[in-house]
């Protein structure tokens, strides 16, 4: 499932200094304090409970743990999570 970028692609991306989120579609996670978290370039929601949210990105899963987690909005590739965020894990 996980397509590894070919060596040529890797070299081109490195030499042109293209950011990883564009070149490899890596997820961007931005946290503002411990109350707001933005995830860009995610693929789908795997689990959503009040205490955790697991989101699939291209390379791995991202698990956000906390209390009273709420998805303020989400679109095809962007999501904003509000609540008391305690941990953010990367699961391979």
């Amino acid at each position: 499932m996980k397509e590894k970028p070919s060596k040529i692609t890797h070299n081109i991306a490195n030499s042109l200094q293209i950011p990883r989120d564009l070149a490899y579609k890596d997820a961007i996670i931005t946290m503002i304090g411990s109350a707001e978290l933005y995830i860009e370039n995610y693929k789908c929601i795997l689990e959503y409970e009040e205490r955790w949210i697991i989101v699939q990105t291209k390379t791995n899963k991202v698990k956000v743990e906390g209390k009273h987690l709420q998805i303020e909005y989400y679109t095809n590739d962007e999501m904003k999570i509000k609540g008391k965020i305690a941990h953010v894990f990367y699961e391979t």
Binding site: C44, I45, Q70, Y73, Y74
Partner: protein
């Protein structure tokens, strides 16, 4: 901003009962159905969804075996639907919009800036004179014409910008800060003599035009001709052959004296305020005056009124005034000047007199004023010797031109 658009278009608050909620949510994202404020409460998921998005949910629900309950309907379309029987409410909204639009067609504020020597009030008063006032229709104002007329009316305003912004008429003016004024050229070529208007001894005389009739050190009396405006053109024999008339012009300074006498009594009365006061309010609409004031119980008092005029915008005053009237009680006390105080007061009066003279470019040469104090009054009297400029122009008396004898013709 996004929330406001959702409110205008209407949205639903729904509850999701499903075994595969995540799949449902991912399908919504794939179908680009906007969902926000998604919460997990107990075993349910609650969220907001647009009305158009809600109609797209049916196949997704079938696919994921999901049941949906509508918890609430929000936004303008639902609000109008709920209140469709309240016609007065909607008529009110329409009227409000109509009144707002109607009001926006008029000028409600006149703002002037950049003016220093011309007061805002004087400019606004001029605008009223040319029928530009608060409440005038915006379409009747011609900004460029108004700017031209303001420049004409106020010569020291050198630049005017008039613009209408919303319901405001804004005037930016630039005044001429250069206070230099060209002296009026004295081109009065009417033949005239310079005549003394006071008597005294001439101390200095500089003649620019005309024939001086007096010399320095000579005494002149009121009415004496100082400089004659008639020039006698003489021939070789010294006989006048022609009179030429000019406007006599000279600086003549004389030494003269002023008699000074000032007497004032040593006793005087002064108001002593008791500190008691009574305040009341008043209200005035045009000529109708309403006051809560009763007849004052004070024997001697004076009233101070502080009035405020009601205004709608910065220069839009209404004929409504309100304020307070305060009576301050006093009684008259009699005091007597001490010798020092009396002398100081007399000197103060004399200084005022001298400074008034100095304003008229009179130089004080000698001051022989003495101050005496008797039992009842203080008297300052004496003479002030001053040097001052005199001379007033009077039309010259025209003389008949002398007859020139015909030159004798010699026959060859």
């Amino acid at each position: 901003m996004g929330q406001w658009i959702y409110y205008c278009k209407g949205y639903l608050h729904i509850r999701l009962i499903s075994n595969m909620p995540e799949r449902f949510l991912n399908l919504c994202a794939n179908h680009q159905i906007p969902i926000w404020n998604l919460k997990h409460i107990d075993n349910y998921y609650e969220m907001n969804i647009t009305v158009s998005g809600f109609y797209q949910l049916k196949p997704l629900c079938r696919k994921t075996c999901t049941r949906i309950q509508i918890q609430g309907k929000y936004g303008l379309p639902f609000f109008f639907y709920k209140n469709k029987k309240r016609t007065a409410f909607f008529v009110g909204i329409v009227l409000c919009i109509a009144v707002l639009y109607g009001m926006s067609l008029f000028i409600w504020n006149i703002h002037v800036d950049g003016n220093l020597s011309n007061s805002t009030q004087s400019i606004v008063t001029y605008l009223e004179e040319i029928d530009i006032h608060h409440g005038i229709r915006k379409s009747t104002i011609d900004c460029s014409e108004l700017a031209v007329s303001i420049r004409k009316e106020f010569p020291d305003i050198i630049w005017v910008s008039v613009k209408i912004q919303g319901t405001r008429l804004i005037l930016h003016v630039q005044e001429n800060t250069d206070t230099y004024k060209e002296e009026e050229a004295v081109n009065d070529e009417t033949p005239s003599d310079l005549v003394a208007d006071k008597e005294g001894v001439i101390v200095s005389m500089i003649t620019r035009q005309g024939v001086p009739q007096k010399n320095q050190g000579e005494e002149c009396k009121k009415g004496d001709i100082l400089v004659l405006g008639r020039l006698d053109i003489t021939d070789d024999n010294g006989e006048a052959v022609r009179y030429q008339y000019v406007s006599a012009d000279a600086d003549v300074y004389i030494r003269t004296s002023y008699q000074y006498y000032h007497e004032f009594p040593l006793t005087y009365e002064k108001r002593e305020y008791t500190g008691k006061k009574k305040s009341s309010v008043f209200f005035q609409i045009m000529d109708y005056y309403l006051s809560a004031k009763r007849k004052s119980s004070f024997k001697n008092y004076h009233s101070v009124s502080a009035a405020n005029r009601v205004k709608l915008t910065e220069n839009f005053y209404l004929p409504i005034t309100y304020g307070t009237l305060t009576d301050y009680e006093y009684h008259m006390e009699t005091y007597v000047y001490s010798n020092n105080e009396a002398v100081a007061k007399a000197e103060e009066r004399l200084d005022q007199f001298i400074s008034r003279l100095q304003e008229k470019e009179v130089t004080i040469n000698e001051n022989n004023v003495e101050i005496e104090i008797n039992n009842t009054s203080c008297i300052a009297k004496g003479t002030l010797i001053v040097i001052e400029k005199i001379g007033k122009t009077v039309p010259v008396t025209n003389l008949e031109q002398p007859k020139i004898p015909e030159p004798e013709s010699t026959e060859e």
